[in-house]
């Protein structure tokens, strides 16, 4: 649906200069025609370019983001993101249980919920420190060092949570 709707739009080249995507200029001629004929632009394209305009539908934008993520994100960062999603799910379940079934015993709720929150924070830190895109900012912290810190922090967190839940 989204792709067909894009075909009826006016000449996209008219608004192209305002587009922030700098990679679009790499294949200016292919843009109007490929969008009408092929539905999987990202898989066929050799670059990470997705042809978007200011009038692109939100689904197209989301799809483009997803494609770019799939393409550009390192394997380990993806693994971190999966783990982060898992932690959010577990934390949300515990919080919903607390709301539905009551907070007794409260220390157990605190321990269980804090385990997910704390682990999320530590993992997010690991993601920031090991992301190649942030290398400039963390030049003094190697990914190995970051991972060692992460393991140490996590073990400490688990120790405290298990103790706190009694």
């Amino acid at each position: 649906m989204a792709r067909k709707a894009r075909a009826t739009t006016p000449e996209p080249s008219a608004v192209r200069p305002s587009t922030p995507n700098t990679t679009v200029d790499a294949a200016p001629k292919a843009t109007p025609k490929t969008s009408t004929t092929t539905t999987t632009t990202s898989s066929s394209s050799s670059t990470s370019t997705v042809n978007l305009s200011a009038n692109s539908s939100p689904f197209a934008v989301a799809g483009a983001i997803w494609d770019k993520y799939q393409k550009d994100t390192p394997q380990r960062t993806k693994l971190i993101d999966v783990f982060l999603g898992f932690l959010v799910a577990v934390g949300a379940l515990q919080f919903i249980y607390c709301v539905v079934a009551g907070n007794y015993p409260f220390n157990a709720f605190l321990a269980g919920f804090a385990a997910t929150v704390g682990q999320f924070v530590l993992t997010a830190s690991l993601r920031i420190q090991t992301n190649p895109a942030n290398k400039a900012e963390f030049s003094s912290v190697s990914p190995e060092r970051a991972f060692a810190d992460f393991v140490f922090g996590s073990l400490t967190l688990h120790f405290f949570c298990v103790n706190f839940i009694n």
Binding site: Q75, I80, L87, G91, A115, I165
Partner: protein
């Protein structure tokens, strides 16, 4: 320790008295009476002596009479008989009676039966001080509806039923054989104040009233009626806070020989003699005296292994028991609380957290001879601090029981809380922690396994 000492003393005293009845206060009794009055009370005095009282007689004006020697009571009990004198003499001011009562002595005061006789000033003062009010001279109680003797013109002699009390009060004043006997009474009566220490023993019949015989010989109206009906007490008593007893008898004839006769109307013997025994026995502490034989408390933590310990824990079962016995003439016997009354335990920290009835225990921890063990088991409140087991049993005609035992109630020790897995509500959160831990281990494993290729290439270059 005090209990054992007291029981040894009691045993000694009862040995000395050779199984005669004996007052708990002591046998030394002072009779304040004039010689011409003594003849009217021969039976009362001889009955007292037969029960083990040693009597000393003094006239009110006696100069050798003294109630205290070396600041010790000389007499245990005092009976003041009616006198024609306006005052009792220099050795018997009203303060001396209060001092006697403060020192634990008992006093029985017989007010004159004849409206023409004076009440000594010291006696009137004493009565006012203990919240009992006497009518002025010239007052008499009459009852025109229930005549003791048809030929008596003034209707001044009353027929009064023996005392009866509500079912939550013990009756020590109707112990004679004939429960339906009538009492013959002649006198002015008493009005009682609102002091909780004052108790009426004998009340006037419903239609009786006390009126001024001088002012209203033909009829009585509001102005010259002192009191009437059940509001009018004939015999009343004060038990002081130290359990001394001061009894006022509104008309001395109640205990006089002339009343220990047949009642003309019913042709039955009057109940006066038995009533005289009951009143003197109660006033002089031969009856109605409670003794605490032992207090024991123990808790769930140590069971009966630690009795009367200092520390209990919150939310633990605690058992408290108190052994009570009651004196009856010459021996202590198990105290049985009246049917509608209960001995209560208070568990107090500033305020009572619990006030619960104690029930007679069938299997007390320690068997006390001749006493009833009242006990109860309760759970300590969820509040730590210094608590007091208190039994505050103060009832009409019984000596006061006010026992306190302070104990510490501690909170949970850190290892006494329920573990998390003992509470099913915490299982999801326990699971949450372990899911995170397992997930984390899996993540670490995957992380190490998925080492980036770029890094490998760089490492090779370096080597």
């Amino acid at each position: 320790m005090g209990l054992t000492l007291r029981s040894v003393l009691t045993a000694l005293i009862s040995l000395v008295s050779l199984s005669q009845g004996i007052s708990l206060t002591g046998p030394r009794t002072l009779l304040v009476l004039e010689d011409d009055v003594k003849a009217q009370f021969q039976t009362l005095i001889s009955d007292l002596e037969a029960r083990g009282f040693t009597t000393t007689t003094h006239t009110p004006k006696s100069t050798t009479l003294t109630l205290f020697q070396h600041e010790e009571r000389v007499y245990d009990n005092i009976i003041i008989f009616p006198t024609k004198l306006k005052g009792l003499g220099p050795n018997l001011p009203s303060s001396s009676f209060l001092k006697h009562a403060t020192a634990g002595g008992n006093i029985l005061i017989l007010l004159p039966s004849s409206q023409d006789d004076n009440v000594p000033t010291a006696i009137a003062e004493l009565a006012t001080q203990v919240d009992i009010f006497l009518p002025p001279k010239g007052f008499a109680v009459v009852n025109h509806f229930d005549l003791a003797d048809q030929i008596e013109p003034d209707h001044n002699t009353l027929l009064v039923d023996l005392p009866s009390f509500p079912s939550d009060t013990k009756n020590y004043f109707n112990t004679g054989e004939d429960k339906a006997a009538k009492l013959l009474y002649r006198g002015a009566g008493l009005a009682l104040g609102s002091s909780p220490l004052v108790q009426p023993i004998l009340k006037a019949p419903r239609f009786a009233y006390s009126y001024d015989t001088k002012e209203a010989s033909s009829f009585a109206d509001d102005e010259n009626v002192f009191s009437a009906g059940k509001q009018l007490a004939l015999v009343a008593s004060v038990q002081t806070r130290n359990n001394a007893r001061i009894t006022f008898v509104g008309g001395a004839d109640l205990l006089a020989d002339q009343s220990f006769t047949k009642v003309a109307k019913t042709n039955q013997m009057s109940g006066n003699r038995a009533f005289a025994k009951d009143v003197t026995a109660w006033t002089f502490k031969e009856t109605g005296v409670l003794r605490v034989d032992g207090i024991e408390h123990w808790g769930e933590e140590f069971g009966k292994g630690v009795v009367n310990g200092d520390v209990y824990r919150i939310k633990h079962d605690v058992t408290f028991s108190i052994a009570l016995s009651e004196y009856s003439y010459d021996h202590f016997e198990p105290f049985v609380a009246p049917a509608d009354d209960a001995v209560q335990l208070e568990f107090t920290m500033l305020d009572p957290y619990y006030r619960i009835p104690l029930s007679a225990s069938s299997s007390p921890l320690t068997q006390h001879k001749n006493s009833t063990t009242y006990s109860t088991t309760f759970k300590t409140p969820d509040q730590h601090g210094v608590f007091t087991f208190a039994v505050n049993y103060k009832r009409p005609f019984l000596s006061n029981v006010h026992e306190k035992r302070a104990v510490t109630v501690r909170h949970f020790a850190h290892n006494e809380w329920t573990r998390s897995w003992g509470i099913s509500g915490s299982w999801p959160w326990i699971a949450g922690i372990w899911v995170v831990v397992v997930g984390w281990i899996g993540f670490v494993g995957l992380w190490l396994w998925s080492k980036p290729i770029v890094a490998e290439g760089k490492a090779k270059k370096k080597q």
